[in-house]
Every structure is written in structure tokens, then in C-alpha cells.
Symmetry: C2
Subunit: 186 residues, 2 copies
């Protein structure tokens, strides 16, 4: 039989984190949620130390993502990809902002080469980043992969604003937690 | 409710294309299959004009992929991503070649920036490409996105051999077929 369907899941604890009425106002509140998801994912042992979320213009969460590479046996299942796919499934469109509304992705750490590339097609208007790639590679064995030399400019020229170093220290701390928990890279 | 699960499917006709006993010997036979999947996807109206497949070292198909962006409302569902996720699901490991066996991805057209990035983590040893990105952008409105300047070298330095221009004319022809079918870009 060929491969007919692929199913990717988020961990059950995600539901307890969800408050549809909550407004996450401002960049710090949005990245703080992404970092909290990354921490919870380590604490629950449900994937790698990465979290992300898609927000609408009002600051409501559209979709969550955490790293699920190991539990799902899927190299695609990075936090940002899970958040993009979750938001698109929920809104039933492959480009989130095609209707003219604005969407933001907040991520606990700079997207790797895969998630960077995916950011161009997902339909986001802004990318909010906690830790830098250099932090990830200093504090863990995760590889971030190659990016275009002017990776921020490439996004901004296509209408995706980039803000980084948001709660960077808190974002870095997740990798210390992960190391103390005995995490290995994948 | 938060986004609990994401399911991505391949079209039903894929099953008829599948012959588990068939050996696809050589690069041309492997890219020919990827191109055939791309053509079939256009003919059946089940997604964009892109096909891909993962092969084991003997030339057996491990998993197929076709573009499913529109039918699945998912910007991640490019042919290469579907093939990677399908192969990983089937073999139950997030890095296909971690056991020491070799795997090849054949794709009808050069991977876009997302699929390029994903290729580093999927666990393939070789990437076989039909049409160039310049062909895709000449013959359709699809955007391929930004890559590192030395995109081939970045793959090869990480152990992924790249062969391109394999059946390039046949691969280009799929985009003419797509245009005649009235396809729009996505």
C-alpha cells in the first residue's frame, strides 16, 4: 500500500494551555506564550525544546505548535510548522492572510532553514523571535541549517516584518532546562 | 478547542500508480516517476504540478508525494514534504537514513525554499531534480523563494548529493500542461 495519509498530533496537555478569550497584547506577550509552550514540551517530555503560536491581529491565538519530531517520527514536525498547519486547517485556507487580515507567528527560537522557507508561503505578516540561532547552537546540539545571507531582508522584501531578541534570556533558558532534563538533539 | 491534529492525504488515484515490486533503476527512471506523478496530479485536478518520491537504495518506492496545497488548505503540503512525511511515517523514523541505509528523493522540479530546508533534516543521501527553478518561474507563476547562494554546496557539504537537469524537457512540459489546464499558481 502506498502512503495514503499523514496525521500529526499535538500533545494532550496543549488543551489545558488554551484560553480562546485571552488577548496576547504586544510582542513580548506573544513570544512569552511560545516560550511557555517550549518549556511545557520539555517538562512533559513530549518533544524538543521549541514552541510557536499563530496570532490574529487582535492577539488571540489561532493555533499552537510544539516540536513533535521524535514522537511523530517526522522531521517536518517543528513547532513553527505545526502552528502553520494548525492555523491553516482551522481557517481552511493555505495562505492565512489572503483575506486581508493580518497574522503573526511568534516562535521561541529563530526558525531553522525548513521553517524559514515555510514562513514565505504560510501567509504571515510578522515573525517574532525569542532566541537566536547562535543561542540554539551554543546551548544545544540542534542544527539550524543554511539560510540566505540576508535572511531578514528576504522576508521583509516580501512583506513579512521580523522582530528578534524578544525575551531572549527567557528563550535561552529553555535550552538549559532541556539539557538538565537530559535532552538529546534531533 | 486548540488545534489537536493535522491530517494530510494523497489523492486516491495514487494507489493505482503503486507497484511495490517495481525497481526504478537509475536516476532517469526515478525522476520519470516524479514527473509522472506531477502530470497525473494535473490531469486529475488534485493539486499543483509537482511530484516527488522517496526511493530506497534498490530503487523501490518508499513513499510518493504530490502537491496538495489547495485541496488540503496547507502551504506545507508540497510534493517533497508529502514524500518525506510519508516515508518517515512508513519507516517510523524521523531521519530516514539513520540506520545506515541510503535514501533518494526524486522531484519533478527544484525544491522551493521550504522543501530545500526540509531536505537537510529528512535523512536523504541524494536529491534528483528535473526542472530548474528558473523553468518553474518562466513557465508558471509559482514562486520558489530565496535560497543560500551556494545552495547545492550546502547540501553536498552535509552529505546530500545533488543531480539536476534529469529529464528536464519532460519536467518542463508538465508546466505547459498545467497552463493548458487553466491552472493558477499557489
Amino acid at each position: 500500500m502506498p502512503n495514503a495519509a499523514i496525521t500529526l498530533t499535538l500533545p494532550a496537555w496543549i488543551e489545558q494551555e488554551f484560553d480562546p478569550a485571552q488577548v496576547h497584547a504586544g510582542n513580548e506577550a506573544r513570544v512569552a506564550l511560545a516560550i511557555r509552550l517550549a518549556r511545557r514540551n520539555v517538562e512533559h517530555g513530549t518533544g524538543g525544546p521549541f514552541g510557536a503560536a499563530v496570532f490574529d491581529a487582535d492577539g488571540h491565538v489561532v493555533a499552537y505548535g510544539v516540536n513533535r519530531v521524535m514522537p511523530e517520527s517526522c522531521s517536518v514536525a517543528h513547532a513553527e510548522m505545526m502552528a502553520f498547519m494548525g492555523a491553516q486547517t482551522k481557517l481552511r485556507r493555505h495562505r492565512l492572510n489572503e483575506g486581508g487580515q493580518r497574522y503573526v507567528l511568534a516562535t521561541s527560537a529563530q526558525p531553522c532553514c525548513q521553517c524559514y522557507g515555510a514562513s514565505f508561503w504560510a501567509g504571515i505578516d510578522e515573525l517574532l523571535i525569542g532566541a537566536r540561532s547562535s543561542d540554539v547552537m551554543e546551548l544545544s546540539e540542534f542544527d539550524e541549517g543554511p539560510l540566505p545571507a540576508d535572511w531578514i531582508g528576504e522576508l521583509e522584501r516580501r512583506g513579512i516584518a521580523v522582530r528578534r531578541d524578544i525575551l531572549r534570556d527567557e528563550a535561552r533558558e529553555v535550552f538549559h532546562l532541556y539539557a538538565r532534563a537530559g535532552g538529546s538533539s534531533y
